[in-house]
Symmetry: C2
Subunit: 352 residues, 2 copies
């Protein structure tokens, strides 16, 4: 251990954990049966169901230092997990957080991460019940999230699944899918400083898990949902495959973000809405009137297509001229291409 590493880490593991817990403030679950600080946290459960999910953010894949701040990374680590709970219609309760700190991470970086994490916990109504922190050869953060699910009289979970779309259902999406990847495209093109880009950068850096939409959809009677993490078409494809149905989407119905259309043009905004990921909006299927009850003044829920018996497992996009449209990308594969290129663009570079 060299002097420079000592300088960077004036604190040992346990002092650092105390610092993190203090910094989390009321985002830490202090009033549970056994709060963070023992071998495991313990919280009270009621009879019913628990929803559990885990997501990892890896530097170079989900972020680069020039695409978002460490506080944004902390925020996203919470939002992506809460989004999974939202897609089940679950009520978020506890988080566990594991951090692998690469050689370049500073104490300031970690403080930023914790601050963003705490902010997102407050915004999403969830609290940190425990964690782990170690050194590694590259930086990544993993969050596991838990929520509550009701059971019906027969003991089945009252939740929304990917496997419950039925022919005749309409398909709806919350918010404006493609906004997050439009924000990333503007960062990559050196256009992050343009004032009109601000809402798209926020969509990329501070996505919101749609808990309110998920809870309202479940209450309205929606029983099929997924969150848009890998790209709208790919995520619709999961519903089509698991439900053994076809899905047809009308390109003209897609709620493109106005700033994406203005800054990138309608064709690019459409392609990003279809194939861009990390929006964390919810896709819902159900009867038209049921879905309409979820639409709200704070966040629109827009009808974009319908579920059919034909072409089970496949998603078809119809363009205005009545032709099937194939966008350049249907979404991301977390294992094959690296999501982010290795070399950051020069600052201020003009778009290609």
């Amino acid at each position: 251990m060299g002097a420079s590493q000592n300088d960077r880490w004036p604190l040992g593991e346990f002092d650092l954990i105390d610092r993190i817990l203090a910094r989390l403030g009321d985002a830490m679950a202090r009033d549970i049966l056994v709060p963070p600080g023992d071998d495991a946290a313990v919280w009270a459960t009621t009879a019913g169901g628990a929803a559990g999910t885990i997501d990892v953010l890896a530097e170079g894949n989900h972020w680069r230092p020039d695409t978002m701040s460490m506080a944004d990374v902390g925020w996203r680590a919470v939002a992506v997990n809460v989004s999974d709970l939202a897609a089940m219609g679950a009520e978020p309760q506890q988080l566990l957080v594991a951090s692998v700190l690469g050689p370049d991470v500073t104490l300031d970086d970690l403080d930023g991460f914790v601050d963003g994490l705490a902010e997102a916990c407050r915004a999403h109504g969830i609290r940190v019940a425990g964690g782990d922190i170690v050194r590694g050869n590259a930086t990544s953060f993993t969050v596991a999230a838990y929520g509550r699910v009701d059971l019906d009289a027969g003991g089945e979970a009252v939740t929304m699944l990917r496997s419950t779309a039925r022919p005749g259902d309409r398909v709806a999406v919350s918010g404006a899918p493609g906004a997050s990847s439009a924000g990333l495209a503007l960062i990559e093109a050196g256009r992050a400083g343009e004032p009109a880009a601000a809402p798209l950068l926020t969509a990329h850096r501070r996505p919101v898990g749609r808990v309110t939409v998920g809870r309202a959809a479940l209450a309205a009677g929606v029983r099929c949902a997924i969150d848009v993490s890998d790209g709208l078409l790919q995520d619709l494809g999961h519903i089509a495959w698991r439900s053994e149905v076809g899905i047809e989407v009308a390109a003209a119905a897609l709620p493109l973000h106005p700033a994406a259309v203005t800054l990138l043009g309608q064709p690019a905004a459409l392609d990003l809405a279809l194939g861009g990921g990390e929006d964390f909006e919810l896709v819902l299927t159900g009867e038209r009137e049921t879905l309409r009850r979820v639409d709200g003044p704070e966040l629109p829920v827009t009808l974009i297509g319908h579920v059919v018996e034909a072409h089970p497992g496949d998603v078809v996009v119809w363009s205005d001229d009545g032709e099937a449209y194939e966008p350049p990308s249907r979404g991301w594969d977390q294992l094959r291409p690296q999501r982010l290129p290795e070399a950051p663009p020069e600052p201020g570079r003009a778009p290609a």
Copy 2:
């Protein structure tokens, strides 16, 4: 994405997930309310308590390719988490697993990891309820584990804490602490091939979370425990600090592993028992007769010291000659020194 990456990854993300789920076999939680494959898993809960913990294993810190196989890494990812549940006296139930695959990981590596994970799930009576898998710049695996805890009539968790040691308590430890780090020391010294090293290598590569000891201790009335993850003295220090008591350990009472004494000598075996980590044995404190009820023919639970009012927060080791003994290391700090040196030793190199 070059051709070589395609060769290495003949499968896309979702085919790979199907492959992993098939490979997990009955280690996957198939019969829960919503099994893996949706946005979140859902399982039934009873009224009571849930214990939750998260631990990450990072390549270069917790393992190197020459210190253990990928199957061993998979096993350990389960064991280290179950060990935390065992230290609470909780009953293991579900795991969530997040994998960050560095550039060098092959499909064979991942298969090995999954096989070891599944084996450990079966051995520890816990099942995988969900996961996430992404590419990153270095390999790490994070597991979050959940268990059941009973509540008493007053709604308090019936569990074992770090903060409940009382002056007059005796201190006991299960198994033979130091065996894991003795195994690692033999690997680092190029002596892994010596037949007598086998049980120590197993202790390092296939540690067992002491669920049976934890459940028996709780049933016997023990209310204070910790698992030995960072080193016996450091973990005893957590009890001393959280309970505001002193702890005194008799060096002569420590149950050293006979193979460690034979291969490394008594002084080194003692130092590894005091400062070596990753044994995942349980430390318990309580009345002598209570602790004796946990001692069993399958795994000894040995009295090693006592809890005192003096020197609160501190752990003192007394050697045979009545002097306080300070070992070279009291345990690991996950953040400061790298646990494993960067360069692997030459194969077959004689010990220094």
